[in-house]
Symmetry: C2
C-alpha cells in the first residue's frame, strides 16, 4: 500500500520533533501501522529553518492554505498554535475531506465544538492526543480505556511549568518570583508566562478532558481559573508541616447539589495529602488521576511537553488515523468519547456551588479569645474543622498565623465565614484560602 501523505502546518519545536521521530522510527511505525506515513509538505514561516529540518525531499511553503488545499495530502497536522488562523485552516482541511491531527489545546478549548461538528458532518477524524499531557496517552485512556465506567472525577497536574515552579519553591524554600526567573532561564517557562502561571493552559486541557469524561460539550468559558502567581512560600511550608503538598490541579467532577447534577470544572492551587502518588509528581512532569466507578483510581504519568514527547502523541494519532482513514465513520471512536447525538447537557457549576476542603491562613493579633472567635464562626456556619496549627509569635512579635483545615464543605459557606473573619478586629489583612482535595 502507498504511504499515507501528511501535510505539516508549523515547523517549530513539535513540528521538528514529529519529523525527526517519524524519520528515526519509520520502520517500527510502518511495521505497526501496516502502511508508511510520509510527511509530504510543510508550511512554515521560516522556510530556511524548515528546510534545515526536513531536508531537500519535502516541499516547503509559506502558505499553510497551500497544504490544506493540496489534493495529495490525506492528513493535516496542525502545530501552529493560537486560535483564529488554526481554526480557519482546520475547518478548511475538514471541508476538503482531510483528517486532522492537532496538538492545539487552546484551539480545541475555544472552537472544539464547532470543529468536531464539522468533522462529524464531513466524516473525517480530528485527533488530539497531543493536546493534553504531551506524550501521555490520557485521551486514549479516557476515551477508549475506560469506556465501561461512569467516570466520577479527573484531577491532573497538566502544566509542567507551574509544577516545576511549585516543586522548586518547596524544595528550596524560595518565593514565586525568584523561581519563575530560574524557570525562564532554564527554558521551563516562557518569556511571557501568563498562560501557564495563571492556569489558562491547564484550563484548556481540563475543559477537553471534562468533555470526554462526562459527555458534555467543551466548555472552557465556564471553567474557574486561578493560577499560582500569588502563592506564598510560607503556605507551601505550612502545608508541608500539616502533611500536604500544594499542586496546581485541574479538577473536574460530577457533583449533586440539592438533588441536581452538575459538573465542577476548576483549576487552582490545591493541597493534596503528601502520601498520594500524584503529590509526588515533581518538576515538569504531568500526571492525571481518574476516579471511575468500576476500575477505581487509575493514574497516568509522563512528560507533558517538549519536542519528542509531544511528537509521540502526534504520531500515535497519525497511526490511528492511518488505520481508520477509510472505514465507516461509525466504526471510529467518537471525537468526544460519546456519540455526537448522545451528548449530555449537565451544567457546569458556578464556584459557589462546589464542594471542597479548605486551608485557611488567618494573620491575627496574639490576644485572648481569637481562636475561640474563629472556630465559633465556623461552627455557626456548619463547617467542621479537620486540623488547626497555631504558630507562636516570633520574639518581640505580637501577631501570628493561625492555620485551619476544614472538612469538606461548600465554597459559599467558606467564603461567608472568611468575610466574617475579616471583620474581626483581631484579624489583619486578607485571609489566605487554598482548596484541599484528599483524592481518596
Amino acid at each position: 500500500m502507498k504511504p499515507i501523505k501528511v501535510g505539516l502546518l508549523g515547523a517549530g519545536t513539535v513540528g521538528a520533533g514529529t519529523f525527526n521521530v517519524l524519520q528515526r522510527n519509520q520502520e517500527d511505525i510502518r511495521r505497526r501501522a501496516g502502511r508508511g506515513i510520509e510527511i509530504a509538505m510543510v508550511a512554515a514561516r521560516n522556510l530556511e529553518r524548515a528546510r534545515g529540518i526536513v531536508g531537500p525531499n519535502v516541499e516547503v511553503v509559506n502558505d499553510p492554505f497551500a497544504v490544506v488545499n493540496n489534493p495529495e495530502i490525506d492528513i493535516v497536522v496542525e502545530l501552529i498554535g493560537g486560535y483564529e488562523l488554526p481554526r480557519e485552516l482546520v475547518l478548511r482541511a475538514i471541508a476538503n475531506g482531510k483528517h486532522v491531527v492537532t496538538a492545539n489545546k487552546a484551539l480545541l478549548a475555544q472552537h472544539g465544538n464547532e470543529i468536531f461538528a464539522a468533522a462529524h458532518e464531513k466524516g473525517v477524524m480530528v485527533a488530539f492526543e497531543a493536546a493534553v499531557a504531551g506524550g501521555v496517552p490520557i485521551i486514549k485512556a479516557l476515551r477508549e480505556g475506560l469506556t465501561a465506567n461512569r467516570i466520577e472525577s479527573v484531577a491532573g497536574i497538566i502544566n509542567g511549568t507551574t509544577n516545576f515552579i511549585l516543586s522548586e519553591m518547596r524544595d528550596k524554600g524560595l518565593d514565586f518570583a525568584t523561581v519563575l526567573k530560574e524557570a525562564q532561564a532554564l527554558g521551563y517557562a516562557e518569556a511571557d508566562p501568563t498562560f501557564d502561571i495563571e492556569g489558562v493552559d491547564a484550563a484548556h486541557k481540563l475543559a477537553i478532558m471534562s468533555s470526554i469524561a462526562f459527555g458534555i460539550p467543551v466548555q472552557f468559558d465556564k471553567a474557574y481559573v486561578e493560577g499560582i502567581s500569588t502563592l506564598q512560600a510560607q503556605d507551601i511550608r505550612y502545608a508541608e508541616q500539616l502533611g500536604y503538598r500544594i499542586k496546581l490541579l485541574g479538577i473536574t467532577r460530577r457533583s449533586v447539589v440539592d438533588g441536581v447534577e452538575g459538573i465542577e470544572l476548576r483549576v487552582h492551587p490545591t493541597l493534596i495529602p503528601a502520601g498520594r502518588l500524584i503529590a509526588n509528581v515533581e518538576g515538569a512532569m504531568n500526571a492525571v488521576l481518574v476516579q471511575a466507578d468500576a476500575v477505581g483510581s487509575t493514574l497516568y504519568y509522563g512528560k507533558g511537553a517538549g519536542s519528542e514527547p509531544t511528537a509521540s502523541a502526534v504520531i500515535a494519532d497519525l497511526v490511528d488515523v492511518t488505520r481508520l482513514a477509510t472505514v465507516d465513520p461509525y466504526c471510529r471512536v467518537p471525537h468526544l468519547a460519546f456519540q455526537p447525538d448522545e451528548m449530555n447537557d449537565v451544567p457546569v457549576l458556578p464556584m459557589s456551588e462546589i464542594r471542597s476542603s479548605y486551608y485557611l491562613r488567618v494573620y491575627v493579633k496574639d490576644q485572648l479569645g481569637v481562636m475561640a472567635d474563629l472556630t465559633r464562626i465556623l461552627a455557626d456556619a456548619g463547617i467542621s474543622i479537620d486540623a488547626v496549627l497555631q504558630k507562636e509569635p516570633g520574639e518581640l512579635q505580637t501577631r501570628t498565623d493561625i492555620i485551619i483545615i476544614t472538612h469538606q464543605t461548600s465554597e459559599k459557606l467558606v467564603d461567608a465565614a472568611i468575610a466574617k473573619f475579616e471583620q474581626m478586629p483581631a484579624v489583619e489583612g486578607k485571609v489566605v484560602r487554598i482548596r484541599l482535595e484528599s483524592l481518596s
Copy 2:
C-alpha cells in the same frame, strides 16, 4: 442498530463483575459504543449461582461449547482460567468466526502465538486488555498510545498479591510466612498462592507485554522467574537503610551484548530507589513503567485485579470489538502491536547475559581483612561498587552482615564473584543476591 450479542464463559468473580458493570452502566456504554452490548448466554459450572447473577432473562448453560457454537453469539468472553479447556474453546470460537475477549494471561502466555495466528487467519479479533494489570489500560497504551516510539524497556509491578505482601513486610517488619497468612485471611492471596508468590503470574503478564513492546512472539517459556518466598525481612530493612524499596518487578528490556541485540525477560525481587514513583506503589496496586525513545518515561497505575477493575478492561475490549467488528481486519490494531508479517526474531537472552546492578549480603566472621578480600574479588572481576554497609556485630556476636551494592555489571560476572566469596573461610553460608534497577 441491534445490540451485539455476547456469550460469557465463566460466571465467577470477573464474570459477575462484567455482567454487573454492563448492566449498571449500560446507557453510558451504549452512548459511547453507538450500539448496545448484551450478554445473551452464559456458561457456568454452577447454574444456580450463575442464574443468581444474570437473572431470568439470560440463557444459562453448563456446556461452554454451546456458547462458542451458538450462531447468535458475536463475541465470546473467556473468563474460565487455566490452559487447555480455554484454548480449545477460544480456538473453536475463532473457527466459528467469533471475536474473543479474554482476561486469561496464562492462556495467552502459553498459547498466545497459536491463538493470534488462528484469529489473524480467520479475520477476527482476540482482545485481552484484562490479562495485564486489571483495569489499567496498559495494553492499549503500549499497543496504540506509544506507536511512535522505539520502546526500550517495560518494568512493572504486575502482581497485587506479592506487592501487598512486600508492602506489609516493610511496613510492619514481619517475615514472609506471617504476612502470607494475613494476605490469605484478607483475600489478597489464594489458598494455593504458588503462581503469585513464585512470580509465575507476573511472568505470564510480562511475556505478553514484551511481545507487544518489541514485536516478538510471546515467549513465556524463555522468561526467568524468581518469586518472593525466600525474601528475608532483614534485606528489606537493609535496602530501606540504603534508600531502596524491594518490589517484585517484571522487567523486559532491549539489550546489546557484544554488538548482538537481545531481549531481557525476567521477574524477580528488585531494589528500586525509594524516591521513584513506582517504588511508592503500595498494597495490592499495580503500576507499569515504560521507557521509550520519543516520549521518555511514562507510568500507568491502578488496580490490577478484582471483580470490577478487571471487568472494566473486559468491557473496554467489548466496546473496541463492537466498533471494529465489521471493518476490514487490516484497519484494526494488530494483536501483538506489529503486523503479523512484520514480527521480530530478536532472541530472549539467558540470565547470564543480562546486565543489572546487585545488592549482595555477605554474612561474615568479624575479622581483619574480610572487607578487603571481598572488594578485591569484585575489583578483579571488573565490578565497581556503588555503596557498602557494614553492620557492627551485636553484643557478644562475632559475625555480621556486609552489604555491597554494585554498579551495573553482567550477571555472569557477579555470579562468579559470589562463588569466590563463598569459598572464603570468613564467609558463612550463602550470599544473598538481589538485583537492583535504578529505572532512571
